[in-house]
Symmetry: D2
Subunit: 349 residues, 4 copies
């Protein structure tokens, strides 16, 4: 199969670097365009980029010249790692010009005609694409992935929702520094400390699951009805968001049933054998002290969510710990998986 | 007033060091005896101790010779910082021999005739002392303080319980390294990491508040009825446990009422002006990103609890963050405040 | 004695905050003016400042209105915590207008007529003030303090220089995050890491001691002749620069002589009993594993240098570890001590 | 080629785990025996081991039963990761019984008839094996690898020694937590701190290079004559020792010559294409702020040394920073490379 040429918008930032890294040896996609702000345009990728993620930048991109974020890139599909403030109009311009945009930005997440997609959870929301194109008279379209802390929460709880229904979720996050981008949180602020606040994060975490778990009715998503409460914290870890979760179910379940639901969970990306889909979307650890950010974030190449300490909750029904790699599954890897689903379902036709 | 001679059991360990430090200039108490394990007995304090807490060891104790933990110490009151496995019988021997024991160990916390005391919360539980002495035919008696994470939770929520009643608490802790003693958690395990498990901690946190908030009926404590769920984590902070708390109240309250209840809270130790009682047991911060362990743990000399981010909870009723100094209010300082209450109430007569 | 009104230039930054904190209860000086960039001018100190240093900002300054850095402040003496790029002309304007400027900035450190002052080391360099005023036709004048890592190195080695002469110094620094200001080094860069490079730092450390140890001959400083080699590193500590030093002496010395010289060192600030002068400028620790940044940086209120591990060096003559509080002795505290010396010597006339 | 059966002594500790990990897919060796202390013997590897190094333990070893450290293991070659206190007599017993022992322990490093081997540096010291066997009347023999901080220092400076001669070395180390084993340094001791002392480390670093660089004359190593001074520090990094080095050469060199010597260095392991030999034993980085422990330790699979910041030294001749992976090249990987050299040179015949 000839590879599909793809571009990266915002290629020099931290999430852009993850796109570059994860796409370097992708079996379906080939990076043919790197775009960034006017300040970087015209420079080579090596010149314009302070590489901050693990490993070295792939040789193949080092000499590529960065272009402006205008919809004249030599590709059909673009991944967007643009900062929230700029992503909105740029992504729209690309979609209008016929590009397929797989975005990691938050700008269009809540648009009623834009899918907020986790391939294992709501692949049927791709039905919105037709609505989006028609309403906006676009050749292309936009698909978004959820906030990092949302993605891993919703993915890990999806089997419980399917099997038993979910009434309420209380989630406390301990989020890694990379979630704030680069330079992000000053070393002086976080060394030997925890910061119990991440601007806008609790709102996203309380809102996004309702859309993702909503039902596509005609041209609209009817939001799921459940209560979600989030406390978000920044801790001194590099990658990997840890979440302490209590959940109330609609139907009674036994502990073994809960664990079996988590462990046995497979979904459309696994059936389709999408290249970035982890064999096991949810890995359940039995040790009492797992998951841990530094030890478990690489599970499934950073695309699995690791769950541990499943036990009864005296206030809601069940409690557990879950961990996801925030810059892989929670950002670039998630957007790539979305694009793989689009291709497999014929949307890149 | 002549100072009351006091001893410290387990004086060489980390909590023992905090007793030494906090008692060095105490207006009522004077350290006249230091006791520890057989391995240390006979050495000077300077020889036997690897000082690991902030600051330098007080000059006055450096030359004192450490004694065995036998009930022949030259004092009437002893503070116990003994490890859980050894504390039980030693504390009993001291109480039987007529000593007043103010303990930080967990051995006797759940004995039905031993007060589990937070002076701002349940000073009337001192009524158990008479029962304890009679039943056990002891001249002295034992009073215990609660687990560090319990103490700050119960103290911070006490004004809400008084004003509105508490139905349920969901608490997620991010606990400091000092809570594990010394050497405690290996650097290799915690650097850039979070460990989502502290052995025995969740059980303590779900159990102790029910006794502390219980009602003394005749010779027994009738445990409080409420649901408590705890998730406990170790994070890379030195001192200061942070807790993300959601709470369901029995009666409706407005946000201003909740905050006012917290801010206005004063209790018996403040009225009695006990030396270690903070002027404000609960300090409410209004900034969006407080309390933080490194910045707020010293509030009230480490004896206040700092609360922040009070807001509505979509699952229970209210959520907030609270922080306490685990080795001061949550350990040595708490036991000293207990002893001060005993003295003020005539129990050291 | 009536207190002398002083101003702080660059009062909102990290070093500015240290000036505010250290001057809050100063026996000789009283802060009557706070100045900062145009962006902050007109706001109260509380509004304009993100307080990042330990403790809370002093109540007294919170409501003070910040002024522009123009030489119309209600004081005679100003402390400058201005960033290097801006300090030069502003400090000159103040000095020309008659203000005494005690600066922590590097702009004028190497001017031949500006003292680069460490009161224990080269108080006689104040003789340059007369030269400076005459040459520049200024009413006021500028005095500077050295770079943080220089100050503690030169102060610690001064007794060895006096007693035995110094031929060469090899110094490797492990410098705290606060040395880079705020926000400074990103958490992502330094967590679990060491950065073996601090822009400009090695040049300062190899150059400044030669001026400080130079001899005032007529109107000029004849630089000291010695070889200095520096390797500078940023490590994950908050405050306190650690330096591993090897030194070659001009005259032979015995270990006890070296240690005695360090321990017995007292100088003019101690004789004059300047308020910020530590009783012991150099504290020698005998434990094998000291000094440590977190445990020793507060020595002498952050104004002492702590030395340990003095031993023979197989390559040069002696080696030792030394530690100083970079934002106290190495910045704000150093500039305050300079001003105290000026006052005591009649330069604030 | 049929794989050679090998055993691991001290297989459950941290270095033992690295042997297990690095040998899991080795092309020449196959682990057929795991041995450890009496406490572990009889248990499976999974039961006896708290896996603390990155990644998961290889499936193949999990069910293997641990044996006692007696010389009855089903293999001819054993790798020793035994603690120093126990290694001496056990390794001797194995060598006496005919085993080849490739040791990471320090017990026999300084024995005059035991090679202290770095394959790129002194492969000719294998000539001592014959001496050792004859003198001790052993069928087998012992080969040791150097201390972690020594190995990377000597390897990095070897091309300079060959090209220009070395008169003196001043080295300051910033060593990772893993160098102290597990549990090693308490989190409380190292968080936000540097410890300027590692027991015994400076002695090793000042002594071992002289033997490694010594000349095999007849039956003895004539130690190299040069001056070495070491200051050793523990810092809050996980893996990767950083060393700031100044070096005095015997012959003059230009900067380009120094860099070329480092970059062009290849030695016997590269010629023999030993499986664990990195293609480039020394990697020179040109960026001003490299090498960094977290970013550069994996270079060459952890078997290369990374050098940066090569520049003139005002006190000695040249200065540079160098970094090595202490538990790979500096421990298990080094001992494996030693064994590969033994095999290639016919010593396992």
């Amino acid at each position: 199969m000839e590879k599909i040429p793809v571009g990266i918008l915002g290629a020099t930032g931290m999430v852009g670097q993850w796109f570059v890294k994860l796409l370097a040896h992708h079996p379906w996609f080939e990076v043919t365009a790197l775009a960034a702000s006017a300040r970087s345009a015209g420079k080579t990728y090596a010149e314009a980029t302070t590489w901050v993620i693990p490993g070295e930048p792939p040789e193949a991109v080092q000499g590529m010249v960065i272009e402006a974020c205008d919809p004249h890139l030599p590709c059909r599909l673009v991944f967007s790692a643009l900062p929230g403030a700029e992503a909105g109009p740029i992504e729209e311009a690309f979609a209008a010009a016929g590009y397929v945009v797989s975005s990691n930005a938050s700008s269009h997440r809540y648009d009623p005609d834009v899918p907020l997609l986790i391939p294992e959870v709501n692949p049927d929301h791709l039905g919105l694409i037709e609505v989006q194109r028609r309403r906006r008279r676009w050749q292309g379209f936009i698909v978004t992935c959820a906030n990092c802390s949302t993605t891993q929460l919703v993915l890990a709880l999806e089997p419980l929702r399917r099997a038993f229904g979910i009434r309420a979720i209380s989630v406390v996050t301990m989020q890694a520094l990379s979630g704030a981008g680069y330079p992000g949180v000053p070393g002086l602020s976080i060394l030997g400390n925890v910061i119990p606040y991440i601007p806008g994060e609790e709102e996203k975490l309380e809102r996004e699951p309702k859309k993702i778990w909503g039902v596509l009715q005609g041209e609209e998503i009817a939001e799921a009805e459940l209560a979600i409460s989030a406390h978000c914290h920044r801790v001194a870890t590099r990658d990997g968001h840890l979440e302490a979760v209590s959940v109330a179910l609609e139907r009674e379940a036994a502990l073994e049933e809960v664990i079996a639901a988590l462990e046995d969970f497979r979904s459309l990306p696994q059936e389709l054998e999408l290249p970035s889909a982890p064999a096991r979307p949810i890995v359940v650890r039995k040790e009492p002290d797992r998951p841990q950010p530094r030890r478990d974030r690489e599970e499934g190449g950073g695309m699995s969510v690791v769950v541990g300490r499943v036990r009864a909750c005296p206030v809601l029904d069940w409690k557990l710990e879950l961990l996801g790699h925030n810059t892989v599954r929670g950002a670039a890897g998630g957007a790539i998986l979305n694009a793989e689903l689009l291709l497999a379902q014929g949307y890149l036709g």
